[in-house]
């Protein structure tokens, strides 16, 4: 078995929502009991609707948000015990919006050098050399070294963000929708870059994306999230050929339009996304599920793993 880079067990992250002075507080379970393992060299895609907790899960894995309960192990060590700097050397984020991820007051050179400065491992000269190497690696012309972020295009900014994440050669990179804020023409460049870098630097990726075409293109394994839970995980090929969870099927239907005359595909997701403060009982997908059975509304399904294919749905309960 390959080396486990991330091993998350029953991870939960709640947010306290205050509903005004006299109405008390409520817990929003943004991530609700997630089990997840990522092996070295994998590209794990995290898909799901807006608000299902992908970013929150990513932030927990990055150590940016403490989990409410559960454990996360990073290369075999509990994440809460890993010192800040060591954590930063292991796992790095790339954010969605390259307009918000670069400090507008700093030059590109000093943005990319920051991780090295913080680690305090290099002198000025070798830092500069390393920054220039990394800029070259991600396809940024050296003349941008002294430029400010607002002089760069979105694609270039995202390359800067990638360079910053990679300059200390981390092992895991978490990309939160790395291309969705970019021009279509630039998206594939960035994706190819991420792909090349992975091979070159032997990286492990967690990629969050709305775009299933992107996922199919780049991921080796896909995890589908719904309302804070992972409802299905499988290898990319398996998942796209043989989706099992009704939600996964609906997601796939919503992008594959087989016949233009058929119009917009009916993905059966007519009922709106539930309020995460007050999730539905039983299987939280049941109000929108085309296959819902009577007990789906009362009994939460247990996960069932068949080889590497995990699914959480009563349709696959063993007959008993």
């Amino acid at each position: 078995m390959a080396e486990l880079m991330i091993d998350a067990k029953d991870v939960t992250r709640n947010f306290t929502i205050s509903r005004g002075m006299f109405r008390g507080k409520q817990q929003l379970k943004a991530v609700n009991g997630v089990d997840l393992t990522v092996e070295r060299g994998e590209v794990l895609a995290l898909v799901g609707e807006s608000g299902c907790g992908k970013t929150t899960l990513a932030k927990v894995l990055l150590g940016l948000l403490p989990q409410t309960s559960g454990t996360v192990e990073l290369c075999g060590q509990p994440i809460n015990d890993v010192p800040r700097l060591a954590l930063a050397r292991t796992i790095q984020p790339i954010f969605q919006d390259p307009y918000s991820s670069l400090n507008p007051r700093k030059t590109i050179g000093s943005i990319i050098a920051l991780p090295m400065k913080v680690q305090g491992i290099a002198d000025q000269d070798s830092m500069r050399r390393r920054v220039e190497e990394t800029m070259d690696l991600v396809g940024l012309p050296p003349r941008l070294y002294d430029a400010f972020p607002n002089q760069l295009s979105g694609g270039q900014r995202q390359r800067v963000a990638i360079a910053r994440a990679l300059v200390n050669r981390p092992q895991i990179v978490v990309c939160d929708e790395p291309t969705s804020a970019l021009d279509v023409s630039v998206q594939s460049q960035i994706l190819n870059l991420l792909n090349d870098l992975r091979n070159e630097l032997n990286l492990t990726y967690i990629i969050i994306s709305h775009n299933l075409a992107v996922v199919e293109h780049i991921a080796t394994r896909v995890a589908v999230m719904y309302l804070g839970r992972i409802v299905e995980i499988a290898d990319t090929d398996t998942l796209f050929k043989d989706p099992q969870h009704p939600y996964t099927r609906a997601l796939l239907d919503s992008v594959l339009t087989p016949d233009p005359n058929m119009g917009i595909p009916n993905n059966q997701l007519g009922a709106s996304y539930p309020n995460p403060i007050d999730p539905p009982s039983g299987c939280s997908f049941h109000p929108r599920c085309v296959n819902a059975m009577p007990h789906c509304a009362t009994v939460a399904p247990n996960g069932k793993a068949d080889g590497g294919h995990y699914v959480e749905c009563h349709l696959y309960d063993d007959a008993s």
């Binding site: 932030k59 990055l62 150590g63 940016l64 800040r84 700097l85 954590l87 930063a88 050397r89 796992i91 790095q92 984020p93 954010f95 969605q96 919006d97 918000s100 991820s101 670069l102 400090n103 507008p104 007051r105 700093k106 920051l114 991780p115 913080v118 680690q119 396809g139 012309p141 003349r143 941008l144 430029a147 400010f148 607002n150 002089q151 760069l152 295009s153 694609g155 270039q156 963000a161 910053r164 460049q189």
Partner: protein
């Protein structure tokens, strides 16, 4: 990837961009000129004042300014009710106004920035405490509190600076809190955390540089505010004490003779007005110039 406009980068040096941005704002230029003049006058007061501002020449009391038919070049702006040269007093008065404005703004800026940035960055309980302090502070009428304190402790230059400094931090705190709150949610702050930056480093290199332009704007507002409040306190006899030549005190001393010798109050009044206006103009311009989106 031809996304970059290479002309922008190469043909414009930083200073030329900066200059164009400055000259684009006439208001700033006017404000800057007046403020600069006031600062220079204040600094070189002993060199340029034609007379000793404290010397009383009782035989030459209430000499009108030079443009009046009874005026003379000896006392360009005339003399006050004790025969002191008005121009010299005005020049020395600039020192007091600027000293109080800058001193009070420094103290209040320090207090307000620390409180506001802490509240915005840490949130939670820290924020609750700071917000409460701001509310308490806002519920105190500045002039009344200042009057009361000065009446108890006694007025002097230092007391006025301290009192105003401890009273005028609310706007700093409110603005720093909300702009910190906004910057804190930017991804570059999360990126800095993920890269392993300490809280101190994040505050000093990621947050502060992005909120400091607001600080400049508020600082100019509060300098102007403090100058006006000092004038008001001095006018009421509870600020800077005579014989110091504060502009507010000059107005106060001249008010009894307002009907027959109106220049006694118009001259320091106009000086106050111009200085405060100029500081505000400068503040407006400073905000426009320092905003990073204007860098191109």
């Amino acid at each position: 990837m031809s996304e970059i406009n290479s002309k922008t980068l190469e043909s414009q040096t930083k200073s030329s961009v900066f200059r164009r941005r400055v000259f684009g704002h006439q208001g700033v230029m006017i404000g800057a000129a007046i403020v600069l003049a006031a600062v220079l006058i204040a600094l070189s007061a002993p060199l340029i004042a034609p007379h000793d501002p404290y010397y009383q020449d009782l035989l030459n009391r209430l000499v009108p300014p030079v443009w009046d038919s009874r005026g003379s070049w000896e006392h360009i702006l005339g003399t006050d009710h004790l025969g002191r040269d008005y121009l010299s007093r005005l020049i020395y008065g600039a020192r007091i106004s600027l000293l109080i404005g800058v001193g009070a703004a420094l103290i209040s800026g320090l207090i307000g920035t620390v409180l506001g940035v802490a509240a915005g960055y840490f949130g939670g309980r820290v924020d609750m405490v700071v917000t409460f302090m701001i509310t308490v502070r806002l519920s105190m009428p500045v002039v009344l509190v200042a009057l009361a304190v000065v009446a108890i402790v006694g007025g002097s230059l230092q007391v006025v600076i301290m009192v105003l400094g401890f009273l005028l931090w609310d706007r700093f705190a409110v603005v720093m809190r909300s702009s910190t709150l906004q910057i804190r949610s930017m991804d570059y702050v999360a990126a800095a955390q993920a890269v392993g930056c300490s809280t101190t480093r994040i505050l000093t290199t990621e947050i502060m540089p992005n909120v400091v332009n607001n600080l400049i704007v508020i600082a100019t507002l509060e300098i102007a505010h403090a100058i006006i409040l000092e004038a008001a306190l001095s006018f009421l006899g509870l600020g800077v004490q005579p014989p110091l030549p504060s502009w507010g005190l000059m107005v106060s001393e001249g008010k009894d003779m307002m009907l027959f010798e109106p220049w006694l109050i118009t001259i320091p009044g106009v000086a106050l007005f111009l200085l405060v206006l100029a500081i505000n103009l400068l503040g407006d311009g400073a905000r426009d110039i320092t905003a990073p989106e204007n860098r191109n």
